[in-house]
Structures are given as structure tokens and as C-alpha cells.
């Protein structure tokens, strides 16, 4: 090793001086590429209110295709049980699922301090109160969100000419143009582009953010930089500073050299954009770091919002936060189970540790690091869209019914997004800063549903329509005696055109395509389109650009009818 006695190492760059050298120029450079778009030149005035109305969107990608039929369960369809001999979620004895009203929230009536008092003690389908459907018991924490009127469960969502390839389907969900593999930018990217074009130099450097291994297609495009964080805690600095002078020198030269022009090549524009984006966004994340690390603060539940007399989650009144978690013993479980100690009421009052009290499987701790980061970024910065993903939903074998048989089984994965939506509601309600729960919509994406009939490996294969979960204070969910929060999953739902209502039995809805798949009734683009237009504030014209073909009459996305492939679909649902 040469000269290891030298401590004045030079080739390092701090976030701060990297930023100070480049922030002023980079956005202008980034946007200068936009003004070449003729369409843009024509639109001198701001259009719509994306980014101006304070509304935000948080997405969670369920990669691998979540089994919709075992998430929002057609429990009163007699063919459900018979199609899934081992996977079907059994109804609860004595529960009349045709009763209308709020969803059940099964909390054990036993002593919460008892070792038998598990978070997911209930092994049966949870009545949703729409008269037909039920929730998977691992999704029990969706019930309070549902009963607050903040959750829409949209069944039978897909797109025309469904590909049963994961990669095709994910691509179409992200690029917004089904059956087009050449469209290489994403729906949310184009949404942010509309904002950037409108706002020009006034735009925030932080618009769309993902927290996952790499920037997903849904936020990717070559003309404006979206941001991805592999690990939000590592993004606040570049290099390893130990000499401020040297840092200054290194960052100065780096910024200088990065402005030098080169002939255009593939990906060069994208590299340039992301180098600049790195510089402009570093400062934002540096400021967030103490919050992300929860130094001196932490985020806990307050169950009184859901009508409990105590603040403690899930009726678990004896729970106390484990030592070292910084928790407040007068509040409920930690909203973001990023460690085992913060994972539900893991440590029982008598001091014993018990995985039965986890709210999510420990393997999802990284997911909750990411969900927490996405939530904090939306709440503390100008970012408009943030999200993350988690995988494992491709349950071809050993899927698991009501109970888990391994950490990657479907019931365990369900706990992940069930708790996430519950926690996000509490976070944006209890810890509101720049975004409250009314300002945020949380939406899940998944590329398709799974076969109605289970296979010989006790799993399910690729199919067509699945379920989308949409939560937020502004979402049109359950209102007592007015409206249920379940869309497209009830034979008696008169808001659905008669010919599109759920049909039970062996030749019913669950066998609508090829005798074994759910046929779609709603297009995913309608759901995302409504959110982009009616929540984020896009105009219809903007939406037509964000989702090409949205106004195409043959697609029937606005009013419903015979879609491009001949299948009948509903019009927009009015979910926000």
C-alpha cells in the first residue's frame, strides 16, 4: 500500500459542494431538452394543477402477480371453494357474509397478554359487508381503513389482449400502452413531465421517487430525471470526505468535466440527466436523513382513530415498546416495522418474545424501510409521486391458503401490503407535515391475477384480471347504507351494468376467459387515469398524453362499452 500515512486524501466529493456547484445549472439543462418538443412550445401556460394542489401518490408494486381471488375473496360464489381444494379461505362459522355493513375487524377477545393472543389469530375469510365478498385474514388491517371510508377494493382489473407474461404485463402496466413493447417511458414519468413542462424553472428538483433496487419503468424516461434510491440512508453523500479542501477540488473538477459536450449516443442523454439529478437531489435527502433514521423520533400507531378506547393497536392494551426503540408506551405499535423490535407487539408484557405478535414477516423489514422512506419523502419534500415494490407473488407452488407455510407464501406477503396501507393512513394522519391523509392516495399495482383453479403444486398460475387496492382520505370508499368500498365483486351491485355484474357458479365470472380466468371489467388505466386526473390534478388533455389512447373511443376508457378487443368494460369508477 502506498503512502498510507497520508491522511489528506483528495479524491472524494461531498454532497454539499457537489451540489453547490451544479444545482443552479442542472435543472435548466435538464429542462432545456424539453423545449424542443413542439407540443410543449405551443403550451405556454400552465395546465392543470399537478404538483400545485398539494396532492400526492404513493405506489406499491406487487411483482409476480398477486392472487386477487385470495385477497378479495368472492366468498359466496360456490365455485370459489370448489376450485381451490387446499387454497380456499374458509368462511367463518356463524358469519353471514350476505349482511351489509362495515367490514369485520377480528380482534381476539382473549387476554392480550396471553400467549394465544396472536395478531393474525383469525384463520377465516373476513366479512367485508358488501353482501358478497371477504378479505383474506392476513389483510385484516385493511378493515379499519375500509370502515373509515378510505379504501377502494377494485376487482377484475386488467387490460385488453392480456399477455400472461410477467415481463410484458409489468411493462404495459408501467408504460401505460398495452401491447406496445417499444414505449420506453412510464405513466408516472409522463405525469411528472407534465408538471415539469408547466412549471419550467420553478419546478422542484424532486418529482417522482422510487425506493428500490433500480428506477422502475413507470418512472423512467429520457427527457427528465426521476430519482431512485437503493438505500435512502446512503444517498446523502458521495464518496468518503475527510478533507474539506480536497472535497472541494474533486467536486469542482467533476462538475466542470461533466458539462463537456460529446456526440450523442444511446443513453447519453439519460446519463447526463441522472448525473445532474444526482447533484440536485442530494441535498434534499441529506436533510431527511435524521428523520429516516428516526433519531429522536419514531412513528407509532394510535388506535383511537379506529374507535378503540385505547391508543394501543389491535386492542393489545398491555403492549409496551421494547427497550431501545425510542417508543412511547402510551401509543400503539410502530407503523414501520423496520426491525424485529419494532415489529408489532413482538415482546409480550411478560418479557417473552413471540413471532405470533409480528404484524409483518421479518423478511419484509427492508420493504418497510422503503415504504417509510417513500412516505417521508412525500410528507417532507416537494416530491409528488413516490413508491416501491416487493416481489414473491408468483405463487406457482405451495402458495398457502389462510395460513402461511413459509416466509414467502401468499398469506405472509399479504400481511406486507395490508399493514402498509394501514400504517400509511396513520402516518399521514398523525404525522402530517406537507401532506395529510386527504392529500395522499396509496395504490397497489400487480401485473395480472392468477388462475381460478389451483394446480397440482398447490399453487396458481398466470391468468388475467386481478385486484387493485386504492387507499386515501379522498378515496370514495365505504359509506354506511350508501356505498360499499368493493368494486366489481358483488352479483347484486346495481352500480355495475347488469351484464357486467359478478356471475357465480362454474360458468360464471371466475371462468370468463378460457374457462379458468377472471375477465376484466375495469382497465387499470381507468384507475390510474382517475387518480392522475381527479387526484393529482391533470386535465383531461394532459391525461390523454400521459396515457396515450385514454380518449381513444375504441378503448372505451372514459364511458365504458365494448373495448378494443370486444370485451365489455365499465366506465370510470369515480374512486376519488
Amino acid at each position: 500500500m502506498r503512502h498510507s500515512n497520508c491522511s489528506c486524501n483528495l479524491n472524494v466529493i461531498t454532497r454539499r459542494n457537489f451540489l453547490s456547484r451544479s444545482a443552479k445549472t442542472s435543472l435548466a439543462v435538464a429542462l432545456s431538452t424539453l423545449v424542443d418538443i413542439p407540443l410543449v412550445v405551443k403550451r405556454a401556460l400552465a395546465e392543470g394543477s399537478i404538483g400545485l394542489n398539494g396532492k400526492k401518490l404513493l405506489f406499491i408494486w406487487l411483482r409476480g402477480a398477486n392472487d386477487g381471488l385470495n385477497s378479495v375473496i368472492p366468498i359466496l360464489d360456490p365455485s370459489y371453494d370448489s376450485s381451490r381444494p387446499t387454497l380456499a379461505i374458509p368462511p367463518a362459522q356463524g358469519t353471514n357474509y350476505s349482511t351489509a355493513g362495515p367490514a369485520d375487524f377480528p380482534v381476539s377477545s382473549a387476554d392480550p397478554a396471553s400467549p394465544d393472543f396472536d395478531t393474525y389469530h383469525f384463520g377465516n375469510a373476513i366479512r367485508l359487508g358488501n353482501g358478497f365478498a371477504a378479505l383474506h385474514p392476513s389483510l385484516k388491517f385493511l378493515s379499519p381503513v375500509y370502515n373509515a371510508g378510505d379504501l377502494a377494493l377494485i376487482h377484475r382489473v386488467a387490460y385488453p389482449r392480456q399477455s400472461r407474461s410477467h415481463f410484458d404485463s409489468q411493462r404495459y402496466w408501467e408504460n401505460g400502452t398495452p401491447n406496445n413493447n417499444l414505449a420506453n417511458d412510464g405513466i408516472f414519468y409522463r405525469t411528472m413531465l407534465e408538471y415539469l413542462i408547466d412549471q419550467g424553472a420553478n419546478a422542484s428538483p424532486l418529482t417522482g421517487v422510487s425506493i428500490q433496487s433500480s428506477l422502475p419503468l413507470i418512472l423512467r424516461g429520457s427527457e427528465a430525471p426521476m430519482t431512485n434510491l437503493t438505500d435512502p440512508l446512503r444517498y446523502d453523500l458521495l464518496g468518503i470526505p475527510n478533507s474539506s479542501n480536497a472535497n472541494f477540488k474533486a467536486s469542482m473538477f467533476l462538475n466542470q468535466a461533466n458539462t463537456y459536450p460529446f456526440p450523442s449516443k444511446q443513453s447519453r442523454a439519460l446519463l447526463q440527466l441522472q448525473y445532474e439529478n444526482m447533484a440536485t437531489t442530494l441535498d434534499e435527502f441529506a436533510a431527511l436523513r435524521p428523520i429516516l433514521e428516526e433519531t429522536g423520533n419514531t412513528f407509532q400507531d394510535d388506535a383511537r382513530l379506529d374507535g378503540f378506547t385505547s391508543a394501543k393497536t389491535d386492542g393489545d392494551t398491555s403492549w409496551v415498546p421494547p427497550a431501545g426503540t425510542n417508543g412511547n408506551s402510551s401509543l400503539g405499535y410502530f407503523l414501520f416495522p423496520t426491525t424485529q423490535l419494532k415489529n408489532g407487539g413482538w415482546r409480550r408484557p411478560n418479557g417473552t418474545n413471540d413471532a405470533g405478535k409480528y404484524v409483518v414477516p421479518p423478511s419484509l423489514q427492508t420493504l418497510f424501510e422503503r415504504i417509510k422512506a417513500a412516505a417521508i419523502i412525500l410528507n417532507k419534500t416537494d416530491a409528488i409521486i413516490a413508491g416501491t415494490e416487493f416481489g414473491g407473488f408468483d405463487t406457482h407452488s405451495q402458495q398457502g391458503g389462510a395460513a402461511s407455510n413459509n416466509a414467502n407464501s401468499h398469506p405472509e406477503l399479504n400481511k406486507g401490503f395490508g399493514w402498509a396501507m394501514y400504517a400509511l393512513r396513520k402516518y399521514f394522519t398523525l404525522y402530517e407535515d406537507r401532506a395529510g391523509w386527504d392529500d395522499v392516495v396509496v395504490v397497489t399495482l400487480t401485473e395480472f391475477g392468477r388462475t381460478t383453479i389451483e394446480n397440482a403444486d398447490l399453487g396458481t398460475d398466470h391468468a388475467e384480471a386481478g385486484v387493485m387496492f386504492v387507499a386515501g382520505g379522498a378515496v370514495n370508499g365505504y359509506v354506511p347504507s350508501v356505498r360499499s368500498g368493493v368494486y366489481n365483486c358483488n352479483p347484486n351491485d346495481t352500480t355495475v351494468p347488469a351484464e357486467l355484474r359478478w356471475v357465480t357458479g362454474g360458468s360464471g365470472s371466475m371462468f370468463g376467459v378460457s374457462g379458468r380466468y377472471l375477465r376484466r371489467v375495469t382497465d387499470y388505466r381507468q384507475v390510474l387515469g382517475e387518480l392522475i386526473r381527479d387526484h393529482l390534478g391533470a386535465t383531461q388533455n394532459q391525461l390523454n398524453r400521459i396515457i396515450p389512447g385514454y380518449a381513444n373511443p375504441t378503448e372505451r376508457l372514459l364511458a365504458g362499452g365494448a373495448s378494443i378487443d370486444g370485451a365489455q368494460i365499465r366506465g370510470e369508477l369515480g374512486i376519488v
Binding site: N9, S165, N228
Partner: protein
Amino acid sequence: MQYRVVVLTVCLGILAPTFLFGADPPTQLDLTVSNTVKTITWPRALLPALDQNRLMAATNITNFAQVPGSNITALASGYTWRTTNSFPGQFYNLELIQLSSNDLLRANVLNRLAYGPTPDELERVAAIGAEAYINEQLAPETIPNPIESYTVVQTNSLGSTPNSNWNIVTVTGTVSSATGPFYMYLREIGNVYIDSVRLSLLFTNITSCVTNTNNVVTCVTNYYLGTNVLVNSDFEQPLGVGWTLGANLVQSSSSPDYACSGNFSCRMVSTAPGSTGGSSIQQNIAAGALINGHRCVLSFAYLPDSDSRLLTLRLSGTGIIGSGMDDSGPPSWIYATFTGQSTGSRFLYGYLSGPGEAWVDDVKLVSGSVAEAGPNLLQNGGFESPLGPPWFAVGNHSGSAIDNTVAYSGSGSLRVLATGNGSGNQTNGNSVVQTGILVTNNGTYTISFWYRPATQGRRVTVRLSGQPADQSPDRLASGFKRRLDAANWGVSLDEMRRWLCQNAVGSSHQLLEVLTQFFENHFVTYHSKTRDFLDPPYNDGPLEDAIATDLEYREVSRWRTALLSPNCTFYDLLKIHAESPAEIIYLDTVGSRGDANNLANENYARELFELFCMGVDNGYDQNDIVAMSRAWTGWTVRIARREHIDNPFAPSVNRNGQGDINLMQFGNYPGLGNSTVSNIIGVWTFIFDQSWHGTNRAPILSEWVPGTPATNPVAMGPKRYAARFGPPWAGRSYQINIPRRTGTNAIQDGYDVIRSLSTNLHTAEYLSVKLCSLFIHDGFPNPTTQTNLPEYAFYDYTNPNRTPEAELIRRCIVTWDQTGGRIRDVLRTIFDSDLFRSHAGSRQKVKTPLEFVISAVRALNSVDAAGQATAFTDGNFSTQLGRMGSMSLFNRADPDGYPEAGPPWISAGTLAERLRFVQTLLTVPAARTNLNGTANGDAGNNTADPVALLKRKLPPPSWNNAGDVADFFLALLFFGEGKANLDLYRVSAVSFLNTADNGTTPSLFSGLSNTGPDYDTRVRGMVSLLMTLQRFQEQ
């Protein structure tokens, strides 16, 4: 005076006549005039790889003269030349001279066929020429590759007298049937010699208490054995004494042929498979000799011959069972050595990576960097004396002891016996430790030792206290390969990744390395899923890791072997994947059944069409998937004896213990009492279970009756090649018609499928698209036969105006069709293409994270004849690849593999990680600290010494010349880019070298002592600067 604007001809200078340019338009020169000053300006970045802007001026259009280059000002905004001459009119001509075609091709081959250039390879390829490099890399079997070559050392097994071939088996268990009987049998017909059978209770006591200087008393638990409860178990008397023989074993006898101890052994002759009672050689145990529930130890020696089969010795019940003959082969002693710096802490540790046993002998610690040169600083390193101070066996290694039955040299060795993960922490850790060693801080020392692994999945570490680097044996590519080849389940996934990455950095078979990663990624499997599959029978993390790694290695090494053959076709590679246990587990074929009313799992069938062969929506549909899925029913993974590793019809057991071997019989680690199931014998391999197979009902790749039943489609005719393929292919049938087969013949269904798919034109097309995306650029969309999609028109080979990309794919398909998919011919077609040899491809690709880290180390890595390198890697990039976009090698969750194209990898967060890696790589290790002062692992154990590199490659007068140093690194890091396009980078680099650390004060590089720290820091900073720039992301 007013001038007319005079013009300009713009011409593209051509140095080599065969050179092809990109379709860049001519450019405009701007001329401004004020009074007598004429200013010519033109923009930057006019052409890729622009080497020179040559401005010519003339007053007569036939008589151009070049203006002096030094008078042209180069700024970020463009180039400017001013003249004050007063000619009334003048012509100007700008010649744009690109990199020569030879230089361009050299850059392309080193960036595409290799993981980027190394300084040495740049020189070598310049000497031999790019064509020779292509030829050489296309025939890797002709080039030696020292990096992963090794020599097998076997010191005490085959080749010596039979008596020394005795294999010793020792197992510990818990007595469940105190009076026995005790059984010995072969599970098939065959012969074997057995000797020295010993069954004893295991007792413990505490001895060797040590009081240290802090008055802490540490005691060592020793194990000792009770008396042997068996009689005549040395077989010195006739077999009738003490033993009862089953009818199938009556030919057995006490034999003088060979003996492990005494003069006789038991010659077991089995005429029918044994199991228990009447089919074994058995002995009842005297009452009271054993105690139910108590731990006991069984040991025996056996001498196999060619007829030996599956020996089992066990006590009735489930308590204690030993087996032989089906382990990984004769034990061999392996030599390991490591040189490093001491921290002055006076402890040396030896330990295992988990519960198990191994033998260690002849441990030597010497001063300096030459193994065994000088006095051994250890006491009793040969283990010829009893294990006493200064040796201590502590923590979960306290059962370790001297063994006088096994030795590399002399008569004794150290038998390391661990009940858990080892660790070094003076005498408080879990290790065999020697204390009080005389070492000095920062002194260089070399450890050497021999070890003989015993428990599968366990690694041996011998190291000095506090040594920063990794001291386990065989940490070079050759060592990893030797251990992987031994298939003794002793290599973890991280170690296999290190084997792969060390090869990627240093192998002379660069194209083979690129192709290995390409096909491994194309035929993706998922290590974690294999581990989950192995969890029920093992419940042992490190062992599951090691076996899953073995399955990954078996497929990768088969691909490498196939690619070393000139005649390797895509069918060969596809067949390896179809037969790979890792794949069968990953894509759920492992449990897929087509018998009775079972619905076959469609996962493999779908991905075989979509991802491995034809490409999505390219000539197949859902009904074909359903029809084809039945062909793979019965292709499963079971455990079979090692000699059956390539026999899909071998007797086997399944995960639930059904079959001819009951997995759960094999309960314990050898030598240990752990209640795990980790010493299952045999090997996990592809097995065809005919009882699970479902006969195909409909031909695959058919046109289907509309409304055909989803689970049992009805065919009405063959699928035919689409019109876009043109003659002679369009309209030709590519249906696969599989006859109804039964029994073991039905395995042929699967081979019929891949044989047909491997030469299907859609496969040729899709694989060519992927290979062109790898070797040329990202602009090859995926093909389709759906006529409404734009890609259909893109790959319409009947279109006379098709793009160069489509034309190259067509040529690849022709080659594929003519050669049956021979890989080298397809690659040759690509490498010979204009696209590969032009600027259309050069530097068009963004490096994947793997390509980025490997190319960064390679760029600074010059190795001299003595093996001294200017950059070092231990091959461990796992953390870095994770941060740069979750590129977890051999562990991709999704079956589409990691993307080859740039955009999925490019985002601010992942780029920040790339910058941090390079910056840390160029930082002196001692200075790698975080803000909080802790060590920074951003570059792991990867280091680079750019000053040593430049002093090796540049003459001394250039060492202090900032321009020369900058030029050297520019040419190294941006090889393939022209000087004109790099001139501003050069300005920055020279300016960096001539600027003090504060970034503003001038400080001439020429004035620095080139052996001083300031010089080193300045060079490191400049190289770091260049490697963090956007252009270094490209290849």
C-alpha cells in the same frame, strides 16, 4: 470592407478505406468578420470518436493548407480560429478525422469481447491486431488460462498400498435401543471390507483449566469414550464369534486379505440388498452396556472395491447410523497459504465455518512472504504432541483433539471438531487457538498448512489475530475452482461469485467469461429458491447454501465446457439448462405431474418459449404452453448416489424420504451429536420419474380450434413461419409432434421439444437479438409475430429497406439455420458485421454494474512476469453490485435475467453508488473512512495503485509531466474515443494535476517528488476524477 461569406466544404477525412461512418450529417462552419478579423467557429461533438479537427484555409480552392492546430481555441462551447489576414476572399475546409478503423475495432473487441481493456491487453492487442484477438477469443480452448488452473494433491489415498486406503467413518448419535441389535449391511449386491468397528458411550469432563493474566479461568471440556460395547469387532476371530449372518450375507467371513488394525478384517459379501434384522450381519448388545438417551459414538473403517455399494452400519432404532462408499471420494489433503500483515496480537486461530469436522496438519507461521521459509513461530504445529498449552481448544471447538489415525506427515494431526460456527477472540472465542506467538505489529508473515475436509459444507480458516484480509484457504480463482470441482459442498455462493469475478478480471478467456455470464443470465436460476427447496431435509443454512451453490456451479461449468468446444450449438446449452437441478427447482418442474388428472405446472413451458428460446409473443400462444407443459412432467430433482449424477433413471429418494433410501435415516453430522439431518449422503440431481409423466395429447406449436379447452387444447393444423421471414422460410411448418411414449422412453418428450426449439427460426431470431444487444448496442427490439405490433415491421426480412440491425439479425438467422445454431458461427457473423466494426456500436452501451466494477479494476490492473499487480481484487463485489441495482449474481428472482440495456440501471441513486465505488477504489485503504471516522467498505478489498502503473508503463522523464500522465490515463480509460472529443477532459486532468488540494492554488505537478505522498494523492485524485465521469459508464 465587406466580404461575402465564403464557404466551406466539409469533408470527412478517411484514413482507412474500409471504414464505415455513422450517418452523421455534414456541419456548418460559421464565419464572422469585423474589419480585418475573420473568425471561424464550429461546434463540438460533431462525430463520435473524433480524433482531429483539421481546419484548412486557401485563397484558391485548389490549394488548401492546414492552419496550425495550436492557433485553434477549444472551449466547451466549440472551436474558434481567428485570423487577421486581409485577403479579400478565402475558402475554408474542415476535415473531421475519426479514430482509425483499427483503433476503433481494437476498442470494440476489448469493450465487448472482454470486460474492458487492461493496460497489458491494450499493448498486446495493438501488437497482434484485433482480428487475431477475435480469432483467439473465439477458440478459448487454444489459449492457456493460468488463473483458474490447479494441481490436485492427494497424499494419503489412491496410489498407495491398499491398507492405507481405509476410510474412517465416525458418527455420533443418541442411543434409542440400548440392547441393539447392531446391524451391518450393504444396500445392494456387492462386497466390502470392514474393520475396527467401535461403538462406545460418549462422556465429557472438564480439564485444562487456564488462568489468564486477568485471573479469568477458562476451562476446556474434553470428550472421552467409554469401552467398546461390541465383541469381535476387529474381526480377529471368525465371524461366527459375536455376529449372526443373514441369508444374503452368509458368504461373508473374517479375512486376512487386508486389515486396518490387527491381521484380519470382515469381508462382507452381499448377495441381496440388506436392511435390518435377517438381512444383515448383526450383534446384540449386552444389557447395561448402552443407556437409552445417552450420546454414543460409532466408528469404523471400510475398504471399498469396485463392487462395493452403499454400506450402512447402525444401531437399531434411529439413534446412530454410519455409512460409507457414497461420499465425495477419497479424502485429499489440501495445501493452503496466505501472506499478510500482523497487528501484533499474539494469537493464531483455526476454526470451521459451522458444525462439523476437519483435519489440519503442519501449520507453519514464518516471518516474511515466502511460505515455510524460516523458523516456524508456532509450537507443535505438526500436532505430534498432545494438544496442550499454548494450544487451546475453546468454545464450540473444545472437542478438537490430536488424532493419531490421520496425518499429512508424521503420525498425528489436529482433528477440528466444531459444534457451531467458529470465531477468533483470544481464548474466549470458538476455535483452536495458540497463544503467545512472537509477532510484531505491521510485520509481514506467511501462514501455511494442510487440511483435509470431512463435513460437507464447512470451510477451514487458519489466521492470525486481527488480520484484515481473508485468510481462509484457496481464496484465489484456482482454489475456488478446485473446491467447486470436488463437489464436496464446501463452497458458499459468495465464494463462487468470487471465482466468477476473479476470472472476469484476470482470465485470458475473456470472451468465455462474457459468454458465461451472458448464458448464466439468459438461463437464469435462483439460488435462494434452491435453498428453500433444501431447507426441509437439511435445516442447516451454510450447507443449504453450499449445495445450492454446487447446483449453480454444475450448470455453469457444463456451459463453460460446452463453450470450449468448437461445435457447441445452442441445443447443447439448452439441454444443460433443461437438465439442471437448479432450473428444475426454480421453474417448478420439480413437482409438476401430468399423470391421472393432474394439471402440469406451466412455468417452465412458458419461460422456455418466452425467455429461453423464442421471445414473448414470437410464434407461440397459451395453448402451446399448455400442450408443452406436459412434456416436462416427471422431470424432477431427487437425491441419488454420486456415481448416478448423470443418470436420470437412478434409484433415488424424494424430499419426503420415500424411495430406496430414507433420508431421515441419516441423522447426524459425522463426529457430532447435533440433532440435525445434515449428513444425507448422495447428490441432488435430475431424475426422471416416469410415474409422474403425462403423455402429450396434442402437437405443440399448432393452430388451435377456436374456443379450445384451456387445459386440453385441440389442434387443427401446424403453426407456420410468418410472412415476414420471407423465402425460403415463410409458410414452413414448425409444429412439434411428439409420439405417445410410456415408461422411461417418455423422457424423450422433453428432448424432442428442445431439439426442435433450438433450431426454430424464432429461437435463432430471439437469441441473435440478445447477442447483438450484448455485443453491439441496445437498439434491437424484441421480435414478434403479432402483425399489429411495430416490431413485426422492424423485423420484416422481405423489406428491402430494412435497417442494418434487422439485416444483421437476418444474417445471424441464416448462419443459425445453416449450422444448426452453432454458437461460434453466430458470433463470427456478429463480429464480422459492419455494425460491430463501426461507430454505430462503439461506446453505445452503458456498463451493467458487473461490467462497471470489473472494468474499473481491469483498467488499472497490469500484472508483471513475477505476478506483481498494480490493482488487486479478491473478487468480492457482492455488496457493491447490490447497491448499484441489486445485481445479485446467481440469485436473480425473476426469470428474465438482469437487463443488458442501460436505462434500467441508470438513476441518480445507483450512479451515486458507482461513483462511490470508484472514488474508494482509488483511495489509499488506510484513508478510507466515513464521516464518522469508521472504516469505509465501499470498495471492499479492491485496491489500485495508479502511480505504480504509470511508472511501469511510462518512461521516467514522463513521470512528472502532467500532460503525459493525463494522456496515459485518458488513452487507458477512454480507449476508443478520439483525442479531439477528449481534449476538454485532458484540460481538466492536467489542471487537476497542477492544482493544490484546495482546488485553487497553482501547484506544478512537475515540482512534486514522484516518490512522495503529494504526488501519489494528486495522481489518485486525477484518475478518480476521470473514472467518475459519465463516459466511463460507457463501453
